[in-house]
């Protein structure tokens, strides 16, 4: 069982390129289709739960599934399978690169990937805007974006502070408006 758990999350982790989200369908395949540890509904419930909390989604999924199936050590096993192989690759790659840092061609490599990192983050930023628009509409998205930009970039406040305020505001408010509208409309 432990070997299966490890292999399932190892495969999902190693084949999921481009951040955590791409690994979710792979985890679904392993957990629901290959090993039949849980059904579709359970898996989407866990995914919804994981999304209500901050931090990486994958490790929450693999940790929780490991916990459900095999207790504490199942959780440790699944998290390790998700995290360790790629962490090891990352450290190896960057350590080798850093060892040759003073060579001009390695210096060039580091300059070459800088704009690519910019593109990756730019795409992510736009994804967050699009998702936000989908969930809240343009006006709310724009207002929150502009306020965040002003507060973080020009008032120079710590971003953590902005997020804490937003979290507090949501918990103290009456909740998402469009849901109530929708509920009212369909009722």
């Amino acid at each position: 069982m432990h070997k299966d758990l490890f292999m399932a999350f190892f495969r999902a982790g190693m084949l999921g390129y481009g951040g955590g989200l791409s690994a979710i369908p792979l985890m679904h395949k392993e957990v629901v289709k290959t090993y039949k540890w849980m059904d579709d509904d359970e898996f989407s419930d866990i995914l919804a739960l994981a999304n209500t909390l901050p931090g990486p989604i994958n490790t929450k999924l693999s940790g929780y599934i490991g916990w459900r199936l095999k207790g504490f050590w199942g959780m440790v096993n699944c998290v390790c399978a998700t995290v360790l192989p790629t962490a090891f690759l990352m450290i190896m790659l960057l350590t080798v690169l850093n060892a040759y840092k003073d060579k001009p061609w390695v210096e060039g490599m580091s300059k070459g990937v800088l704009p690519i990192a910019a593109v990756m983050l730019g795409i992510l930023a736009w994804d967050f805007v699009k998702k936000s628009k989908l969930l809240m509409g343009w006006p709310a998205t724009m207002i929150l974006t502009i306020i965040s930009l002003l507060v973080i970039q020009f008032l120079n406040l710590h971003p953590a502070l902005v997020i804490v305020v937003l979290i507090a505001y949501s918990l103290l408010s009456k909740g998402a408006k469009d849901d109530r509208k929708k509920a009212g409309g369909s009722g």
Binding site: P54, K60, A160, V164
Partner: protein
Amino acid sequence: MMKYWDIFYSNFIANLLGYGGGPATIPLLEHEVVDRLGWFSTREFSEMVALGNGLPGPIATKLAAHIGYVQGGIPGSIIGLFASVAPSLVMLLALLGILMRYKDSPKVKMLTRVVRPTIAVLLGIMTYDFISDSYTGVGWIHTVILLVAGYILLEKKGVSPAYVVLGALIYGAVLLG
């Protein structure tokens, strides 16, 4: 000892406030390790992001492991990984009953969405910083070529980030060295 605490704290905060999965933690982590602690330059951090995206698996944990390793060796790396994985996982297990009840609550829904524009802004600021850093380092022409090529390949053609990063490394080694 202080170093290990800093490794723990920076990853803990970034992952505790990063709503929207691993990528949301990137700018918060950068704020901690580049701006506050001064452990890495913007360029070094961008290298981590690019190479990290070229490798499979979750991005937040790869960054945590590497930052921890550079600052505190293998123990540092384990502390970094623990700090990025444990808080949200413990919350998930501890609050399971409550979360099950409230996962469709309007407050929780609102919470997971109002934070997104802020994360978008943080990612946008980092994008800008990386571009202006690249301009200072290699000038407009190389920067624009790499930006445009990177965008077309990653977003329009759907080429795997691994190949795009590899291509940029070769481009850099040959033309920018």
